[in-house]
């Protein structure tokens, strides 16, 4: 499969003196589920913002579907890349269905209304995310997990091949974290979408993602298959935290060991 996102020699800093991302190059093939992980301040959200053109690079290029990102107009770019940001509830009480329908804004007719195709796409997005049941409820009345599913539904309704997510599971309990990742994985597998998601949960990333981009605070980065990038050594180097590594089938999992961590001995599949 060809690369849908190509990043070449990308550098960025919020001030001329400061450089948060240095000379980063990578490619993401269409249909891949990639997690961006790394410590706070490493530039994960900055990279995501560069990938959707919310920020302009200091140097380097980003291509989406082989076309430089700056060549797209905003409507065309929305047709290629949909973004789910960290939870934001608008001041005024839009309903769930109104929120999801907004993803179709670039396709509205002259008088600003949706057509049958738009409605069908919105319905499919609501069904896929299991949010059709509360379509008419105000967004503010939903729980955090439900709201996050609505924002994913809105991103799906954009019908774009690439989905960028900024910590989609922050503030969610375990059940909802797993629920969101199940939803993203099925979206990847069933609709062939390319998913790029920032996460702080390396175990969820290890379990669900095909590739990991590990950004270090020192500007170093590693990209590759999950098993090649996540190791106790690498994690300790990037996060400065020792971890215990166990295995669950083919996947490894990591338990961070703090100063007061209890010696839990050997963990095996049997214990889990």
């Amino acid at each position: 499969m060809s690369a849908i996102i190509e990043v070449k020699n990308l550098s960025f800093g919020y001030t001329p003196q400061n450089t948060i991302l240095k000379d980063i190059s990578f490619e993401i093939k269409a249909g891949t589920f990639l997690a961006i992980a790394g410590p706070n301040g490493a530039g994960k959200s900055t990279l995501l913002n560069l990938l959707c053109r919310a920020l302009k690079p200091k140097s380097g290029t980003i291509k989406i579907d082989a076309i430089p990102i700056e060549s797209y107009n905003w409507e065309a770019l929305a047709g290629k890349v949909a973004v789910v940001r960290q939870e934001f509830v608008p001041v005024f009480g839009f309903s769930v269905i109104e929120t999801v329908l907004m993803a179709r804004t670039p396709y509205f007719g002259t008088f600003g209304f949706e057509n049958k195709t738009d409605k069908q796409i919105v319905n499919e997005a609501l069904e896929a995310t299991d949010t059709a049941q509360f379509a008419s409820r105000p967004l503010g009345s939903l729980s955090g997990g439900e709201r996050q599913r609505v924002f994913i539904a809105r991103a799906l309704a954009a019908n774009s091949p690439v989905l960028l997510l900024d910590e989609p599971t922050s503030f969610l309990d375990l059940k909802h974290q797993v629920g969101i990742y199940d939803l993203l994985k099925s979206t990847q597998l069933e609709q062939g979408k390319t998913i790029v998601s920032i996460t702080h949960d390396i175990n969820l990333a290890a379990q669900y993602c095909d590739q990991i981009l590990l950004l270090g605070a020192d500007g170093n980065y590693h990209i590759g298959e999950t098993k090649d990038v996540f190791s106790t050594e690498q994690i300790e180097k990037v996060f400065g935290v020792r971890t215990f590594v166990g295995s669950l089938g083919k996947e490894n999992f990591f338990i961070p060991l703090g100063k007061f961590a209890k010696d839990s001995g050997q963990i095996t599949d049997k214990h889990i």
Binding site: E75, A78, V83, V91, I97, S136, P138
Partner: protein
Amino acid sequence: MKELLTPKKLVIRTVSALTVLAVVMFTCSLIGTESISLKAVFGGADIQESVNPDYEIFVKVRLPRIILACLVGAALACSGVVFQALLRNPLADPYILGISSGAGLGVIIAVISGLDWMLLGRSPIAFFAFAGALGTIWLVWFIGRLTGKFHVTGLLLAGVVVNAFFSAVIMFLTSIAKSQQVYSTIFWLMGNITEEDFLVLWLGAGFVVTGILALFYISPQLNALSFGEEDARSMGVNIARTQLIAFGIAAAITAIAVSLSGLIGFVGLLVPHAVRLIFGPDHRQLLPLSGIFGAIFLVIADTLARVIIAPAQLPVGVVTAILGGPFFLVLLVKYSRKVSWLR
């Protein structure tokens, strides 16, 4: 998908609201200290070689006043909708970014300078108010942009500071002005609907209606902007263009309203909220309906201002505040469950 706004629903609601507006305009045109007969009005300007008083009152006094109330009410309400959307702030109104103090400053400068030239048969007060309003909003926009591209907090703070500074200048100028000049300024600041020149009315109406139609055209983008700039951008909205158009038009129609009628408060805050509470936050509907209900509200308020202490008249701004406050509170309690910002 029953809950979604459809073109049919929008047309039905807009036409119904326009019908209510027509009924209100007609009824209010018959109310006043002098009772007039419609039959006599249709008799024409002259009867038996003398002036027809009913026609004179209807056409030269009440009709222009009602038309002016309509256009000022519609302009302020639509401008309120836009500022609330752009600033994502339920407390925003057309005056939040300093238009009121800018216009007030223009007025007191015109009054104190004692300028006596006329343009289009008008004193310079209206022109100074218009220039003061637009100049101030440009200044706030300029300062706001220094804090970042359309940085909402920066813009709001710039508005607050400019407002406070100009208010202080107004107080200073008022304290050194003559008592007659102070009276003229305060009378203007309280807001009054008086206009006799149909050319000015049609020009004003033309600009306001064109502005509202242009705002309606970008209403889907205003919906997306309610979720913040970054979200709206990722939904394909050209943020810079939408903000510039919305901000420019809202500022221009507010400046027109302010220069024609002085400072009339509450309309731009209450009407958008009332319409939002009843019909929902979708700007495709909120804009036209707020415009029409703003017109209805101000026509009624101005009629009350004409008759409550007749033969004297109240400033309409007093009536909008007294009438609007309790009316809004009733709506707020009744529909509060429908809006998220109250949770």
